[in-house]
Symmetry: D2
Subunit: 344 residues, 4 copies
């Protein structure tokens, strides 16, 4: 059965595996001090058009989030996150486990806004409560929405004015910045955030995220945190080599675009069949609302996640496309859905 459950169901983009094979018996330094990591860092700096950043390669998203966030905070400092934020709902208390409270903000569309931040600052203003210090956002968000340049500029400004660190979780950044509604570049992001990461795992690598520390005040000694939290792979080359492949040309963006193109096929096909969506998400996660009778039939043919019950008769499901999703599979999905619909 074909699965649209997520964008990490398959291995890696074939070009990545080929390069791993080709370089396999070359000797390199350990712990991310190898020439592959160096080269990958250089390629990313060039793509960002920003030589002042530091880049670190880390296995996965939860690990990246917890290391970066805990590294920069004093014990009483806290994180502001949308209530849909991955760190708030899906990482098993990883941030709290490093000692820091996550302050949730109720949002509709997965995105934080300037006003949300200002309201938190008003409420948290004395030593009997935590001190907000870092703003966590995701792009694309956990429900597939994306930040516009203007929205990110506003957030950046309110953070700068209030001495807050702006952190962007980019687990799905590849899809976010290549979708049609996007007007942000990696360079913009490196200028508007203090830290962000470029997700590899959900964009064609076996594993690996590239954490970019843009704010020079946050760069010192960062590798100690990697080591202490168990994130410094002995064979760090494994991460470096993969990010070379993503950034030595435009593979990173091509994969993102492919994911979005496949999602577009699904989105338009489903829309044409008359279904609504839980949220207007322009990236590689889409959330159609289906009748339960349709859904029960559909799950005989495809894997997907039930996202949220809408009412007695309908639920939103989540479909996700990956680097490996094929056009024909998407078109077939629409046909199957159409057939189910007409049979019910």
């Amino acid at each position: 059965m074909y699965s649209f459950k997520n964008d990490y169901s398959e291995g890696a983009h074939p070009r990545i595996l080929e390069t791993l094979l080709r370089t396999n018996l070359e000797q390199s330094e350990g712990y991310g001090k190898d020439t592959y990591c160096e080269q990958a860092e250089k390629l990313i700096k060039d793509k960002l058009n920003n030589q002042e950043v530091d880049v670190h390669f880390i296995s996965g998203g939860t690990q990246t989030n917890l290391i970066a966030i805990s590294s920069f905070l004093r014990p009483y400092e806290a994180v502001i996150s949308a209530n849909t934020g991955h760190i708030y709902v899906n990482e098993a208390g990883s941030i709290e486990a490093t000692g820091h409270k996550v302050i949730p903000i109720d949002v509709e569309d997965g995105k934080l806004r300037k006003e949300d931040i200002l309201l938190v600052l008003t409420k948290y203003s004395n030593e009997h409560v935590v001190k907000p210090k870092l703003v966590y956002i995701s792009n694309s968000t956990e429900i597939g929405t994306i930040y516009t340049k203007s929205e990110l500029e506003n957030l950046s400004q309110v953070c700068k004015e209030n001495n807050l660190i702006l952190f962007m979780d980019g687990a799905r950044l590849g899809s976010a910045i290549t979708c049609r509604e996007n007007d942000l570049t990696l360079e913009d992001i490196s200028k508007l955030t203090d830290i962000f990461y470029i997700g590899g795992t959900k964009n064609g690598t076996l594993l690996g995220e590239a954490l970019v520390i843009c704010n020079k005040n946050l760069q010192d000694d960062f590798r100690y945190n990697l080591k202490q939290k168990g994130a410094m792979l002995a064979k760090g080359r494994l991460l470096g080599i993969q990010f070379i492949e993503l950034f030595k040309d435009d593979l990173f963006f091509e994969i993102g675009k492919h994911e979005n193109d496949m999602a577009d096929i699904l989105r338009e096909g489903i829309n044409n069949l008359g279904y609504d969506f839980f949220v207007n998400s322009p990236s590689n996660q889409i959330f159609p609302i289906l009748n339960n009778s349709v859904l029960n039939e559909l799950e005989k043919y495809y894997g997907f996640s039930i996202w949220e019950k809408i009412d007695e008769n309908r639920s939103a499901i989540r479909l996700v496309t990956s680097f490996a999703t094929k056009k024909e599979v998407c078109e077939e999905f629409i046909k199957v859905l159409a057939r189910i619909k007409s049979n019910i």
Copy 2:
């Protein structure tokens, strides 16, 4: 220049990469719930001849140590370790970062003994000091020595009698249990320890350690710890597939044996040239003591680590062999060393 610096200079055993390629586009469940991880777990249980254990796959050694150790301890409980223990000297305070003191024991040969444990228990016996709860040992140790079955039985007994958890760091277990002096089997270890791990990274994988929880009282809910510490890879298959390759036949043991065979060539050759060793290590790390003049010449041809200054004229160095070390390279090394020696 050829490097004997460590056993993680190269990528992975070629068979592993081939299998990653072959399975690359198969879809699988995320987060270690895939069929590859299941199969790998089953293979390991069979090799241990012990169906009662739980097996979890984790990226690296420091991460495995910190997750396992922190999972089982109450806040005031502490770890006993040799002062050479990797967690005490080489993991950037990772255990303390989870809140637990590591009590160091001065040892000569990297190994803890029953008497060491009993002495600690006598000294730490009231609520003004931490309560020792877990005994951390490495096999092979950080200086290449190994535990005999009788030594491990003694430790196991003292731990059981005193309600202590016995944890074995097996980053180099492959080399340890395949070297000539060894009389331990994986099955023995699964019966004598509460937890141990089978190192992949230093035994032919790209990354990955297999944590084996033998004590049934420690098994519940363990995956929460993996998630919270950022160790649950989205594409957990990457670890499962590699451990299938190691254990579907005897590749794990063959690699260990190969490492030891290569170390034997180095050890015997160096010994024949009349050099002493810092420690009698039967596994894939050897520590010859060389004159500084020899050493200065040798480092023009080979990479290695300076381990410890012995006196004004001599230092111990560390040479490590890996799955990829070739016989001819080792023989050449001895020739080069002989030539340097005769020229000085």
Copy 3:
């Protein structure tokens, strides 16, 4: 200016200071192993009619909460609290600083109910989220409401059925269990909760809370936690002596009742003047809603806290009575308020 801001504006009940003076130069053991603490523990056990509990004396409420809660949880386990809970809103992230998430539940009246717990258990049921393990309630709550026996029985049952620890913060337990609407006894509480504490600081002592561990499975080794968190006073006698005074007869209850009686005078007087209340709180904290014009005048004569803005014209304030609040002062307050009201 007289302050109704809180119940810790004055020192201690005079009888407590007298006993401190009388015993001052007697020598005693350190760190809570003295005969005063022993005697206080015995008195409390007798009042609870429960010899199976353990009692520990701790300086303050935040310290008691953080020590007790962190002691019993594994790293991935979390706390359920009302969104008004002191640990959620007023302790500067103290629980998160020990590594544990606090899951907030929106409530109207400061109280958790069985249904709240069950809903959380449904939502938090896999290893990508924290595992709820401890239910934190306060009695009286942060807004002065109290738990009935039946409500506590329901909570106790749902906790037992789901293997959750029920913890009651009793910072204002003295007022709670002596107010007219109360039907709980200390003995009931010791049977229905796993842990609770009897607040001294807000009930007539200089400082000090008596933590009662009712669940025998949670009693072992607890003093290690006290020491590690800096809560084991060298002169532990200071706490023991004060709790002897509270419990050698009925002073603890008399103080609670006095606080409530004084609050009754305020409540009835304010009610008679036609004002509403933010919440129906039967204990020593009351929350009348006053017009801003009244409030601006009133604050020239009395200290109090602004609790919450109700609308453009009105705000709720908080008035708190203590062991030292005098009847005449309360009656005078009502007169002043009446005069202000009639003048506006």
Copy 4:
């Protein structure tokens, strides 16, 4: 039986209790924002002749140590301490519980020296180990020795040159700076350290230490740490009032001197009887070496601690004097010891 076990066997200096009584029913702000704390802070600044410091009042020594140390360190930073340091041996892993390793240095006399620090810096110089950041010293030390001005200047210099924080645990600072061998003033200490504390508990108060933050870079937001760790007493006045008594005139120094005078009587008497000492300690803790036969008899009359077994026949014991120790009691002790000696 009279106890020389420690300097916290009795309550408080009578003047302190009298002032607590006198001010008991005055109303004050909570959480250390009261006028007593303000006044106490001012008095201490005046005594230090240093208006640039911040002063915070905290219940006890372990709490003060753990809050101060954890507040200033990033996750991977560590503490250097003598292996006799209270935080290393006697606080139940409290520093590690906040996430930081304590690096122990073997010392003879309880004191750290410049060379010790430099050696640690050489050994800890890469990201695979912790980064030393704070130097913890005690004055007097745990074995009664004291730092000279020149020694402290040396430490201060090496810390400044290497960007290390110098922290002095002053649990027994009163005795240290009033003993005959001392040449340090409080003003000196405030200039040579980054942080230190002035111990109250062992110098005549019921409880309480005054933490002095001298380094302006470490002063911001400190009260958040107090709150988060449960150290902000609701009735903070209790600490302020006591420190007013100690510093409104010279009571603090008088108590220290009294302790030392009493220790002198014991030390000289024991010396005259021909006994050696475990260490030459000029302050209020002395460590005579007695034959076991003497010791067995002596413990029928006096309480004291066995410090260390010297050989088969002899042990060092610890005798401590307090604010309440009486001259006649010390003289009587010498007589009893003389009698025991002559009878054996």
